[in-house]
Symmetry: C2
Subunit: 461 residues, 2 copies
């Protein structure tokens, strides 16, 4: 990771000739803007930022970079949390945000073809008139390309699946500059090897995504949201386990510990009860069916002696809830200005969820760190941000140690080092433990696709 | 495909030393039994059939085969329909059916660890007491390993997804003999490259599956089945398109044309109305919600002027229906003894379903062949068996030509050459058209995993 590639004037002239002078920058401010994501990982500037507008431009850029062994890192919203798009070896950053068009809505097939730089929220705005939507929602202002590259999930994955589950077809520029299409527009196939799923979650290390066909889902007609508060973390997380085991299919099942509720109340001027809490949502076409499910959830919550159970019907109640949930990261930043955090993102089999939550709280508190926990509980996915003063190496070491302990515990429980943020920089060290001998196979795949190691080097495997 | 490998006495002695004399056969009848699947593709005997009982045995066998360049083909139920497990280059057949144990039921995580030779129906019998099931159901007596290798789908994929969608983790013996585990027991991950999905549907060409962890689903409490008959194929298939577009989530949505209904009536002594028919099933936890959906379906069917609409509640009605549906292949065999058939298995985007059904009927009838159509309509998947007398080369050529025309039409409509049966032998010639430049990448992956080309050679890519 230590070698940072700088470009010479011949390189820059060539790149300018491909994308034009206006879409090529070596200005300080642009280099700084593309030196980081939302994580606390060390910033690293690229040598140049390019804004391509076509697959053909990208093909030319990548082929040149490959020939001259120049690192190349795709970049879009910069909202990732593990340093995934930080150009740790410098070189070229491809800012994909000018490739943000909806190319074709095929409502009759419940499909849309888009460019990777498109913000998924803008896509969903445009799809409203068709009564359709693209369900994955990582919260932040993510682009479709970034979501595919990280296999983003978010609150709705429990009902609708991950981003990867929606992807039917990809256009990819391989490191050689060759353009390929993989996948099909049919809903199912047993043809060839599943290259689509290989590129999903590959974090820009195998090629550049230049076009995406995703499945769409009909907008649900009915929403019901529930806020349930408990006396203890244990009771809240046990309720989650029982809901999943009972086969309930909520559209969201989020656990939020007291510490986070307090921060959100302060930041959003809300008055949520300060207790271990579940945010639950059901979506569907039939009000009666939703009420049926809510009643069942209520029984489970009461069996686990919940303090309060508030079921609100309709979109407003639901929007208020998710606004609170989505403000968690900002609430933490606002309450602890200047602090950095190790972002926890482990996932475990559902029966181990109470264990990992308990363990995480102990790992953080015993090291005298602040790190309130929350997460996509229904998926067994736990988050936290373990804070430290950037100028205090002892604090940082303890925060890091807590995060490490949590990851190792998750792996020991049969889980994964990253539920949804990707490997990026922060999770690389856990790959040998998580994948064992198959890590070597992954490295061989990386080498097959990218023999010169130009694609987002220093990441993933 | 023409070179058939025979083994020498040293090879046989080594293999016997690994699996014991009892689980190694060169007997004529065993070689014959392992020379074919359910397809009409040319039979080919292996040199030897082995019945391994452990991953370690398989590792030793595969390492030996790799060193001596002996083809090796995993085989289980033999119910595939594209020649997938026919050992076209002879060598070793690994019969996986002695590795048929349920290794661990983790009901609290909705997961089970099984050996690949386990019949999925037996698995579901054993899971009943936990109130759980493994949803994919290809109809035939398939094993889990075969279902993973072909990414089997069947009638329930529309609600529950494909076999691949249920697989969390695999143990694989690579062609080198190395044993790897891939995947995680967490429900979601963004860690590493998705090797699980690469092995899913790889038809035994990348390694031998020796252990599988799959997700389970709670058994639905309520069932409602519908039989709707129409005046025309067009009306039936348009109803399918409208159901999918409306976002209905049936557990099955099958189209069966008149010709098939007649054969099933004869074979099963049933009295189904002989018309283009939809078999539809809803599953869920709430009777009220199902009735809601059925009412909506009824409206759609009536808008398309259905002749009859019969909604039956409960498991018996449902079982009768699926018994009929599953007898299609046997009904055809029984009505046309001695005839062979090209098996159609294309899938298209849903709006193109009426087009592909119309086209297929015309392609078959215009060539004076018999080939009644049916399929997993809700998934855009169309089947037929285009019959011919094995001794009549003109008939065979015409049947083949019809199948080719249908595949090309499906590809032109944005679809796939194989919705669920896999590539095997029969669909290889369509791979260049379907995958274009990405086929070469698939071939490189094959070469990376299996440099000596020993794993199920002559298939897939």
């Amino acid at each position: 990771m230590s070698i940072v590639k700088t470009l010479n004037s011949t390189d820059l002239e060539f790149l300018q000739s491909v994308v034009s002078r206006e879409r090529c920058s070596t200005g300080e401010s642009e280099l700084d803007l593309h030196a980081h994501d939302e994580s606390a990982h060390k910033n690293q500037r690229p040598s140049v930022v390019l804004w391509p507008i076509s697959t053909e431009e990208i093909s030319k850029i990548v082929a040149y970079a490959n020939e001259h062994q120049i690192p190349i890192t795709p970049y879009a919203a910069g909202t990732s949390l593990e340093g995934n798009p930080i150009p740790v070896q410098g070189g070229i950053v491809l800012d994909m945000r000018k490739m943000d068009q909806i190319l074709e809505v095929r409502a009759q097939d419940l499909q849309v073809t888009v460019q990777p730089g498109l913000d998924f929220k803008k896509l969903n705005e445009k799809l409203k008139k068709y009564g359709l939507f693209f369900p994955p929602d990582p919260g932040a202002t993510a682009t479709i390309g970034g979501m595919v590259a990280n296999n983003a999930k978010g609150i709705r994955a429990i009902k609708y699946g991950s981003t990867g589950d929606q992807v039917l077809s990809l256009e990819i520029v391989l490191p050689s500059g060759q353009i390929i299409k993989c996948g099909t527009r049919a809903m199912r196939t047993s043809s060839g090897y599943d290259l689509v799923k290989l590129f999903v979650g590959s974090e820009g290390t195998l090629g550049v995504i230049t076009e995406v066909i995703v499945k769409l889902t009909g907008l649900p007609r009915e929403f019901m949201a529930v806020v349930a508060c408990f006396d203890s973390v244990e009771q809240a997380t046990q309720t989650v386990v029982q809901m999943v085991q009972a086969g309930l299919a909520p559209a969201a099942l989020e656990f939020i510990d007291t510490g986070i509720i307090q921060l959100v109340n302060n930041f959003k001027k809300m008055s949520l009860r300060e207790a271990p809490t579940l945010f639950i949502e059901f979506q569907g076409s039939s009000r009666v069916a939703l009420e049926d499910e809510i009643n069942f959830v209520k029984e489970l919550c009461q069996e686990n002696r919940c303090q309060s159970f508030a079921a609100g019907v309709g979109r407003d109640e639901r929007d208020r809830l998710w606004e609170a949930r989505y403000s968690v990261h900002e609430s933490i930043k606002s309450a602890y200005p200047g602090q950095r955090g190790y972002v926890v993102d482990v996932a475990v089999p559902i029966s181990a969820y109470p264990d990992i939550v308990r363990f995480a709280n102990e790992a953080i508190i015993s090291r005298k760190r602040i790190g309130p926990v929350f997460g996509h509980a229904g998926e067994g996915n736990l988050h936290s941000e373990i804070l430290y003063e950037p100028n205090d190496p002892t604090q940082q070491a303890l925060a890091k140690e807590a995060n490490h302990a949590i990851v190792h515990r998750a792996l020991d429980l049969g889980g994964t080092a990253t539920g949804e943020h990707g490997v990026g920089i922060g999770k690389r060290e856990f790959m040998p433990k998580e994948h064992g001998a198959s890590l070597e196979l992954m490295r061989q795949i990386k080498k097959l696709f990218d023999p010169n190691g130009i694609m987002n080097p220093g990441k993933k495997v």
